[in-house]
Symmetry: C2
Subunit: 277 residues, 2 copies
Amino acid sequence: MSIIRCLINGEDKCEVPVSDRGLQYGHGVFETILYKSGNLQLWNKHMQRLRLGCERLEIDLPDTRTLYREAKKICDDDDKLILKIIITRGDSDKGYLPDKGAKSRRILYTTAYLQRYQTETPQGIDVALCQQKLTHNRKLAGIKHLNRLEQVLARTEWDGDQYDEGILTDLDDYLISGTMSNVFFVKDKTIITPDLSLCGVNGIVRELVLELAPELGFETNIRKIKLNEISTFREMFLTNSLIKICPIKSFNGRKFASPGRVTITLINRLINFLKER
Amino acid sequence: MSIIRCLINGEDKCEVPVSDRGLQYGHGVFETILYKSGNLQLWNKHMQRLRLGCERLEIDLPDTRTLYREAKKICDDDDKLILKIIITRGDSDKGYLPDKGAKSRRILYTTAYLQRYQTETPQGIDVALCQQKLTHNRKLAGIKHLNRLEQVLARTEWDGDQYDEGILTDLDDYLISGTMSNVFFVKDKTIITPDLSLCGVNGIVRELVLELAPELGFETNIRKIKLNEISTFREMFLTNSLIKICPIKSFNGRKFASPGRVTITLINRLINFLKER
């Protein structure tokens, strides 16, 4: 990973002490944000999730104005960048119990925007089911914490170009998400996405799709989805902060309308929504 | 945490790049080892677990002779220290998928031995059940990986001296372990400890107790243990690499013989075993 610029607690450096609880236990949260033409895309939504994550893990969220100022400082020389923000519980003292006096640590860094994030994949991508399962933890569900071994294990199940994303279920075989994306299905005029109250990350674009759908005349339905239901869906797409909305051509061989009409409508609405801001 | 000395890949420093996959995803494993009078206690067993953890997480384990040499280098000026070894998957490149070329990073550091690790607590300690549950993941079970938010959340359930350790069950309500220890029960002449094939950390002292028990005339039984079974046990104790074996006086108010005869026999045998080496 080529880091272009990094600030740690406002200082120009790119290393953290080994005592950091982010390294020691994964005690922290992160956000990956697209910076484009002077704009930190969907900043407020990213801050909302960061705030929720910090509350759940008892981390003091730094002033978001400070985060914004620091983010702009390391992005503003460029046109298009990926910004990652990591907030950890600061330094460890006595094992798992956090030291009340220890302050959170804020890490902001930029990397190059890569062509593979490009949203324009009109023909759609192929996805497959991972063996790795996601486990239930109500306190960790929805937030983007640093304990990501389930995703790492899932992602190492395939290599190269076999397929483009892996899809995970929970231990009860309900569909939850991709390794780095949320999933949606379309049935008639309804947009269906998995319930994430027990596991998974509540994506920023996922939330936005759920907000924009009603004004386009679609119903939304957040619920448990069994793997064997997918044959009843006409379209499937995934979302993520960098690639936004991406049509899915096939899932484990089952083919979908790609790009489906509903997916195209949502992609166009999202492009306009982001232009308006 | 006051780090006395730290080596990273053999270099005298105590910071890691933010790109390290240990920080990014918790993609690494660790060991906490007691150093005493020139001896890195139970070194081979620690290396065995480290090896298994590295295999499971597809991390190249550095040459253990290098680890030993570096460990001795930072310990040998002192009489009694805590040594922590962290091995991470090295630097991140493209998200969750590890970069084939990236080498693992070895982090070794020492901290002071604290009086609270002292094994001599003949009267035993009080423990209580945590709300937080442990989730099942066969690939992560047994090893000491860096995704420790479940333990962190469990440990934040109590503060100060209310009790001395929290005990966790899995989502099926089977007893698994303490936040930083393994648990054992005694019934007649049998030593019973939870099956850890789905979650929990396979402790070094746990393994040693299971090895030493038969020669003392005890049977061992590794199995699933329901919470409501504890009233049928006469003794309970916990194990961990620093405190070794510690009798438990009460668990959620249920009292045990403390210190029980079997527990005392095991403590004495362990003290002798460690002296013999």
